[in-house]
């Protein structure tokens, strides 16, 4: 019981023998964990999931489930519940028959089966829909049926491949919450694939950011957002302002980066950079302060407001600062006046909020 539920060990995968879709995947997934594979389209998320489910074989490396290699175990023997992106509900069966399918192939029939089906349909709030066909359900309801079907046989692991991507925003948020609730209540281990970063941040215990067949960073949502390991992660998760410069001095985890002749900026050193190497400074738009009170920031630079967009909960400003015309600042809409376009302002931030990263 001390080994992880799933282990990817130096897994590689190629479809055509030329390019590696998954380059070197090392990943441990703990029991009861909600782990999300997040990454842009084509980064190998589905491929990794399919290898785990047994529909693709790894070109090299090992995948271990409960400490045992599963390369030669067919999908139906892996005891993994899977929710597909298009739900893959069987159109010729009713909702109840769909949910009973994994039970009936395991020889569970009759009262035992209908009891489990009723319970799991109740869990997803679809008690009264058992006799409908999938085509008679809305997208969100179909999604719930797919989840119910993947849970009814109490698999040790549940995989979900972009299960909510076909739904509208409101429904998506509601179902995110419901999946999270099921994860807690049933103590499930879930591997979840998405390319929606807010979904990943909202749901996951840990997130593995995929890019070009590699895990760029594996961390919990807070670390991922606050301490991205490299420029790709910083850019991919949330918005950020990039300032290019050159490392001037390094002092442990702190460094100074020269942006131009008149400006050097203190920053937190994240990437393994050396003195005089080019660096990319990353500052979140919501960490920038406009006309900061004295002493509240470590860096203060002049800027010009280019335009202002009113977004209700907050205000988004585009500025010209530090040689960039695309310097974005978001301010909470706290009822105070905000600087109109074409005014010169002073902006600032704390050194801790400025990360020195590698140049892409």
């Amino acid at each position: 019981m001390n080994h992880p539920m799933v282990q990817f060990r130096s897994v590689q995968k190629t479809y055509d023998g030329e390019s590696l879709v998954v380059k070197d995947l090392n990943l441990d997934i703990a029991r009861g964990e909600f782990l999300t594979l997040l990454g842009p389209s084509g980064s190998g998320k589905t491929t990794s999931l399919m290898m785990l489910a047994g529909f693709e074989t790894a070109t090299s490396g090992d995948i271990l489930l409960d400490g045992r290699p599963i390369t030669h175990i067919p999908p139906e023997k892996r005891d993994i519940g899977m929710v597909f992106q298009n739900y893959a509900l069987f159109p010729h069966m009713t909702v109840a028959e769909n949910v009973a399918f994994p039970l009936s192939v395991r020889g569970i029939r009759g009262a035992a089966s209908s009891e489990k089906v009723a319970r799991v349909l109740g869990m997803v709030g679809l008690n009264d829909y058992g006799s409908r066909r999938p085509a008679q359900l809305s997208g969100g309801q179909q999604q719930r049926v797919a989840v119910a079907r993947a849970l009814v046989f109490e698999p040790k692991l549940v995989l979900m491949d972009e299960p909510l991507s076909a739904l509208d925003k409101q429904l998506r948020e509601q179902l995110q919450y419901e999946i999270k609730r099921l994860h807690h209540e049933l103590g499930l281990t879930i591997v979840y694939v998405t390319h929606d970063q807010s979904e990943a941040l909202a749901m996951s215990d840990r997130i593995a950011v995929f890019y070009q067949g590699r895990v760029q960073q594996l961390a919990d949502p807070v670390t991922l957002y606050e301490r991205p390991a490299n420029s790709f992660v910083a850019q991919f998760i949330g918005e950020n302002n990039a300032i290019h410069g050159r490392v001037e001095s390094i002092d442990g985890h702190r460094c100074r980066v020269r942006v131009d002749e008149s400006l050097t900026v203190p920053a937190r050193l994240v990437a393994p950079l050396a003195v005089s190497q080019p660096a990319r400074l990353s500052i979140r738009p919501e960490r920038v302060v406009v006309t900061p009170p004295d002493g509240s920031v470590d860096v203060s630079v002049p800027a010009q407001v280019l335009d202002v967009t009113y977004l209700g909960r907050y205000v988004r400003m585009r500025l010209s600062a530090c040689g960039s015309e695309e310097f974005i600042v978001t301010l909470p809409n706290d009822g105070r006046e905000f600087s109109p376009s074409c005014t010169a302002v002073q902006i600032g931030w704390r050194a801790d909020d400025c990360l020195a990263l590698d140049v892409l």
Partner: protein
């Protein structure tokens, strides 16, 4: 959100049929005006659509609906004899004697008058041919009387008719004539089903040696069913291969499947003759390698017909199945497997049921086409393997019994429609995918 959109449209559009949909009418005048405007724009749209397809509509009407209705009409409408001998039928009705008696003199007199008129109008031969279809020999009987009718001025006519042919004194002859009294009747359908009207006017079976069509119908259905089943079995395998092979292989296979469509039916049938005949390719090969010592009879029997027809009709089974299989995403079988189904179970319980509309469409299509098959059985089959179309053609061209041919055609059509109806009830026609 997308699922809400149609409902929104529904509730704001005013539906002329349901009187304003679910919204309370905002006021009769406004509502009426809206409705009128909607109807006018709709009507304009419809008119434009109909005008656009008018040439096609006319073509379909002329080339399909017209012949088909003529066929149905001819199968029961048969006016030659009743309009040719109007006085005779009037006299027969007035006399009203039993069918096993010869009529009285006024009937003969009426017949003589009818014959004179028919001879004058040149319609005598036509009437004689029609009578001959009902009872062979009647043509001679009728024409003998016609030939000399002008030499006699007046009656009594009974001795005249008895003199030209003793058949005129037989109650059977008169019963046959009386059976044809109506311009619309079911006699052709009766003979298509090996039945006839007896001299007593009852429906009885044909004498055993004259019964052919029921057996032919059964044989037609049997051969068609066999071919449909073979096409289903082979077609399913090929369609599966097509749907699941790589793109290049699938393209190549598809060309092979479609190739037969680009060659004439006659060429394909003759190719099978070359292969199957006694000195044909297959027999020579088998003889050559010593597998057999006598040539196998593979032609002029049911085997040959089934093989050739299956090959020719196979694409009609493959294409609907293929199109359905293509639309089944691989995630279905994957989902089934991840839920614990073995490959076989996943195939049987998830894949196969989803192929059903395509399989049903393919089988139905092959069966329907096979029902009307003509050339292939005529060339490859023996005398005992001819199907209904052969006999329809025979009645049209040799026996010149168009009424019977039409009746047989109508029966085949009815069988097809019945099948279609049953299919609609079982699977639903909207589920049928043909390609």
């Amino acid at each position: 959100m997308s699922s809400d959109a149609p409902a929104l449209i529904e509730s704001t559009t005013i539906d002329p049929a349901s009187g304003g949909g679910s919204l309370p009418p905002p006021g009769p005048s406004l509502n009426d005006d809206l409705r009128r405007r909607l109807r006018r724009t709709e009507w304009r749209g419809h008119l434009r659509a109909y005008l656009l397809i008018a040439p096609l509509l006319i073509f379909v009407l002329v080339s399909f609906v017209l012949p088909l209705s003529t066929l149905v009409y001819k199968s029961f409408h048969d006016p030659v004899v009743p309009t040719g001998l109007p006085l005779t039928y009037k006299a027969l009705r007035e006399w009203g004697g039993p069918r096993d008696e010869v009529p009285t003199e006024p009937v003969y007199a009426a017949l003589a008058n009818d014959m004179k008129a028919a001879k004058r109008d040149g319609r005598a031969a036509e009437i004689a041919s029609r009578l001959n279809i009902e009872a062979s020999g009647l043509r001679t009987t009728f024409m003998r009387a016609v030939r000399r009718i002008d030499s006699v001025e007046s009656g009594p006519w009974k001795p005249y008719f008895a003199g030209v042919d003793p058949a005129w004194e037989s109650p059977t002859t008169w019963a046959t004539v009386r059976n044809l009294a109506d311009t619309n009747h079911g006699l052709f359908f009766l003979s298509a089903l090996d039945l006839r009207k007896s001299s007593q006017g009852d429906v009885v079976r044909q004498p055993a040696e004259q019964r052919i069509y029921v057996e032919v119908f059964i044989r037609t259905i049997g051969i068609s069913a066999l071919v449909a089943l073979l096409c289903m079995a082979f077609g399913f395998a090929i369609a599966y291969l097509l749907a699941h092979a790589g793109d290049r292989t699938a393209n190549l296979l598809m060309i092979l499947v479609l190739l037969p469509f680009w060659t004439s039916l006659l060429v394909r049938t003759t190719a099978w003759i070359v292969l199957l005949q006694k000195e044909g390719v297959i027999n020579s090969m088998l003889l050559g390698i010593g597998a057999i010592s006598q040539p196998l009879p593979m032609m002029y029997n049911k085997f040959g017909v089934a093989v050739a027809m299956t090959h020719i009709l196979l694409p009609f089974a493959i294409l609907p199945m293929y199109s359905v299989m293509r639309q089944i995403p691989p995630s279905f079988v994957r989902a089934a497997r991840s839920l614990g189904a073995s490959p076989t179970t996943a195939f049987l319980r998830v894949y196969l049921p989803q192929c059903a509309p395509g399989v049903a469409a393919g089988v139905l299509l092959v069966f329907i086409i096979a029902l009307g098959y003509y050339i292939t059985p005529a060339l490859v089959g023996g005398a005992g393997d001819q199907m209904i179309s052969y006999f329809i053609a025979d009645n049209l061209t040799r026996a010149l019994n168009w009424g019977l041919a039409s009746a047989m055609g109508v029966l085949v059509l009815a069988a097809v429609l019945l099948l279609y109806w049953a299919y609609d009830k079982l699977v639903g026609v909207t589920n049928m995918r043909l390609g």
